[in-house]
Amino acid sequence: MILDLDKFIAKERFFWDELAALLARQEAQPDRRPPLEEAKRFHYLYQRVSSDLVKLKTFAGEAETTRFLERLVARAYSRLHEDGGEKVPFRPWRWLTRVFPATFRRHWIAFALSFGTFCVGAGFGAGALKWNPQSKADFIPPQFSHLNEKPSKRVEREEQKNFDAFQGRHEFSAQLMTHNTKVTILTMVTGFLWGIFTLILLFYNGTLMGVVIYDYLADGQGVFLSAWLLPHGSFELPAVFLGGQAGLIIAHTMFGWGTNLRLRQRFARIRGDLVTLIGGAGLLLVWAGIVEAFLSQYHAPQFYPWKIGFGAVQLLALILYLAFCGRRPASKKTLSL
């Protein structure tokens, strides 16, 4: 059978143009929900043009019109078969009280591993400094050179400073937020390289923290250290662990243990969880940045108990939130025969 191309195009062109016009309207207003009649017509046109494409490919083989129809069918297909889950409206309160903590709990092993790696790093850093106190400068990176100073000297200097809320605080806060967010995202995305660099980043940050903690404790500055780090660290460090958690989920996906799904299918399964975890980490970091700039750097000794109390309460609240928020009561199981 040979297709009469001229007649075929003349007869069907009207439907092609109608589908193209509908697509243009939908692409111009992606959030618009078409009325039922329009949706039905769209589906009919999609099927008709698909059928035209099959006919053309089978009986004519004319390249240009085939390509034109392929493009039209591709656009219609993408609109018609888009993932319905994506269209669920974002509800911030539900996300905050249910989705985020539930996602965190679903992957608690990855979080434990992330936290554990950090702790191992911290132990290594503290141990190294105890073994060789001269090695402190080798661990501290250039951007934190002020930490090379003897802790008691720094405490003495900081405690004599007057607090000025508008002297570089906003800039400092902004720098902290953006830097920590970058580090957290990097900890997550390096999970793609089978998690090796995620673990290295966690271990490295842990080492740095271990060196600082041991240094201050050994110099008898435990109270200053707690008042300095707890207010913002109680949110900042968990955010980094969340980044590590997301990175280790990616690493697990890369290895594909316990599943015979293909890589793209495995990624499709975790994509929503990754966005949720990194979104949660981002929120924590914004708050931590504000607290670090406006509270943590204010070193008046009479406020130490308040600062430590604030940090401790914050940390406890975060633990309770992540552990229990949005849990549904266990349904009663009934025995049926």
């Binding site: 992606p30 698909s50 297909y77 937020m177 793209r264 990624f267 994509r271 966005v275």
Partner: protein, 266 residues
Amino acid sequence: MLGTTTTLTVRTPEGVVFEIPLASPFSRCLALALDMAVIFALTILFSQFIQLLTIATSGVPVLGRVFADFGTGAAIVLQFAITVGYGMATEWLWSGRTVGKRILRLRVMDERGLSLGVKQVVIRNLFRLLDMLPSTFYLIGGISCLVTARCQRLGDIAAGTLVIREAELAPPALGQLIGTERNSFAAAPHLEARLRQRTTPAEARLALDAVTRRNELDPEARLELFARLAEYFREIAEFPEEITIGLSDEQYVRNVVETLFRRASV
């Protein structure tokens, strides 16, 4: 691999198969350069705006002091937000297109041919931080693009996306391309039918391309090309001598194309 796949083939549940052309690493690179220029321009624009505000409020006693500090912080956050959020915002609002991709007629889409979801947009743009390493040289992303069959950077693999070329939509005006001269093959409709039956779409496309681009060819190449094409089509369907007498090779191929693409048959 090195770019062996140039199209995405999609088979719909209805059994329809179609192809979407993929973007080359080079065109993606150009689009990226344009986007970086836009990001740079936006950052400068906002920084200047904040600086202007700071200068304008500098005379006010308390507000001026607050704003001088707040402005610097806001500029840092804005720069970060623009760098990270530009790709996310534009790809989400413009259905997978940034400014650079719009100019170069590229579009990000789901690797199954579906439209892009918001989670995919977020993931592919977050992974940019890894793809652009070391520093901002895009070495990891570039190597990934070159070694994956469908030119995907790591962000594309994680998000399940790829970048396609937007094909032209208008069908060609065949009459203008082929001409309206009388086709002597019309005298043998049964042989025309045989010619159509035995010619594959790729061969038909080749012949059409040769006819439409004949004026761009060197005279020698043109003679050789049409001689080879005519010889091939003569083998497929041999028309009697009284129809083909006096026809040059080029006219023979033009008749073939006219037969394949225009004429109605039984």
